[in-house]
């Protein structure tokens, strides 16, 4: 009796759990669609506001400074080590299989097509994406965004579009820079630790250099810059509920940007490197 009673309870509980689970999943799916919908609406509004680019020029330059110039130290730092790791890995993978002339080739292609753009984007997402979300999120929760609206000043044109443009421009610039620094990092390891000469390393770089590798990586980085800025702005504008809400917005902006960067890395790679 006791046993059956408790089994019945469990059954009911299970049913309830299931239906609340289904409801939770349903809600999550709907919220997901709503989020994507509003993100695309934001993207549309940004594109429309691009025609006001000339009169926001000052803001764009300011944002480029904030995103690009101030990101240089961390980008340089991560690029050196990226290049060094690429060299160590290339030497290890090729050990006894491939002549060392190919070392430079392998490093170069890995850096230009993948490591440079993606790792730079991830580092910049952490620094810039969170910064944008925190700044706009604070403006949102303190009603500064609403204040702009009431003053008939379009927040998308004044706050979002300059960051969007700066992201799209500075991400490739930082990537080119990172590529260069990473190749130097690779050279350091190749010469000091693997033991090939500078001439062999440089010959390897030149040997199979394709402009498509370089351009493909740069095109990727433009997408990444757009993703970082849009994610930061979107989550910043969606911030709600004081300081904690701003913190959540910053986290979401970085996580969303990182995931989107990896997804677009695949999409753009599959499209360009065929």
């Amino acid at each position: 009796m006791l046993l059956r009673g408790s089994a019945g309870d469990d059954g009911a509980k299970l049913n309830r759990d299931q239906s609340s689970y289904v409801r939770a999943v349903g809600r999550a799916v709907i919220t997901g669609f709503q989020q994507w919908g509003s993100a695309f609406i934001l993207l549309g509004r940004i594109v429309l506001s691009l025609r006001h680019l000339p009169r926001q020029f000052e803001q764009v330059v300011l944002q480029m400074m904030a995103m690009g110039v101030h990101s240089l130290p961390v980008v340089v730092f991560s690029a050196v080590f990226t290049g060094m790791v690429a060299a160590v890995q290339a030497a290890y993978q090729m050990q006894g299989l491939v002549p060392s002339i190919w070392l430079g080739t392998g490093i170069c292609r890995a850096i230009l097509t993948e490591l440079g753009p993606v790792l730079t984007a991830l580092v910049v997402a952490g620094r810039v994406g969170s910064g944008i979300a925190a700044e706009l999120g604070t403006m949102k929760v303190t009603e500064q965004i609403d204040a702009l609206e009431t003053m008939a000043v379009d927040p998308v044109e004044h706050l979002v579009m300059p960051r969007f443009v700066a992201g799209a421009v500075m991400s490739p610039v930082l990537t080119i820079f990172a590529n260069f620094i990473a190749l130097i990092g690779g050279w350091l390891v190749a010469v000091l630790s693997v033991g090939i000469t500078t001439q062999v390393y440089l010959d390897g770089l030149r040997f199979h250099f394709h402009t498509r590798d370089l351009m493909g990586g740069i095109i990727k980085s433009i997408f990444f810059g757009v993703i970082i800025a849009t994610s930061g702005c979107f989550h910043g504008f969606a911030a709600e509920g004081g300081a904690a809400g701003v913190g959540r917005a910053a986290t979401k902006a970085v996580v969303a940007a990182a995931v989107m960067i990896l997804i677009f890395d695949y999409i753009v790679s599959a499209w360009i490197f065929r």
Binding site: E143, A152, V153
Partner: protein, 242 residues
């Protein structure tokens, strides 16, 4: 004239405004009172189109906000000034730039003309000479006054105040009340003031409306509200809990 008809608004299934009807006549100061969280700010946000009604309408001089596009809405907003509860000053801009923003965006005035205008608005709220300060350097009362100067920068026909005296010491609150009363005397601005401060309401109101459980349960002059037999109103005026 602002006309609000049958305004409904819910958040996550919770009804905040449940058929609000209200008319604000040109040149008058309408004070909306009500307990915290009863939807006063939500009502004010509908008047300037920051929120869209679920049902019902808001019209300004016969133009229904819900029926116009963004461009016309922005055009209409230029005739409004709004003072936010937390002042909402742009914290990356100096006091001067805060007040000048609207003028720079929407007028063809020269730099000097804008400078003069900003200084005169700051003078009006008793903040002359503090244009170079940053919002972080100001006290709550000073922020409110700069917010007011910013709201007035474009010489609006309508000014919306969201709890202009809440959180201020009595002296600062009195100063804001003086400013509001002075503005309506001198400039004949149409004002909507949202507050739960009965002293302030008595000082500035031509008419008082009380928002309660999503509806306007009373609308009349300050003398009339004192005589209202409605127990909910009397309790609010006396500051008693239910």
């Amino acid at each position: 004239m602002i006309q609000i008809q049958g305004l409904n608004k819910s958040f996550n299934g919770k009804k905040v405004l449940d058929g609000v009807d209200l008319e604000v006549r040109t040149g008058e100061t309408m004070v909306i009172i009500g307990t915290s969280g009863c939807g006063k700010s939500v009502l004010l946000r509908h008047i300037i189109g920051l929120m869209r009604p679920d049902r019902g309408s808001v019209s300004v001089d016969g133009t229904e906000l819900n029926r116009i596009g963004k461009r016309d809405l922005y055009q209409l907003r230029k005739r409004f000034g709004m003072l936010f509860q937390g002042s909402a000053l742009f914290d990356s801009l100096s006091v001067e730039d805060n007040v000048a923003l609207g003028l720079r965006q929407h007028t063809a005035l020269t730099r000097e003309e804008i400078g003069e205008k900003v200084e005169s608005k700051l003078g009006m709220v008793g903040m002359a000479g503090s244009g170079k300060l940053m919002p972080a350097e100001l006290s709550g009362g000073m922020k409110k006054r700069v917010g007011l100067a910013r709201a007035l920068s474009m010489d609006p026909e309508y000014v919306l105040y969201d709890e202009p005296t809440t959180g201020l010491d009595p002296i600062s609150a009195d100063r804001i009340n003086d400013l509001m009363a002075g503005l309506q005397e001198k400039l004949r601005i149409t004002s909507v003031v949202v507050t739960h401060d009965m002293v302030s309401a008595g000082r500035v109101a031509d008419r008082i409306a009380m928002l309660h459980q999503g509806r306007i349960i009373f609308c009349g002059t300050p003398q009339e509200i004192k005589k209202s037999p409605d127990e909910r109103i009397q309790r609010f005026i006396r500051g008693e809990a239910d």
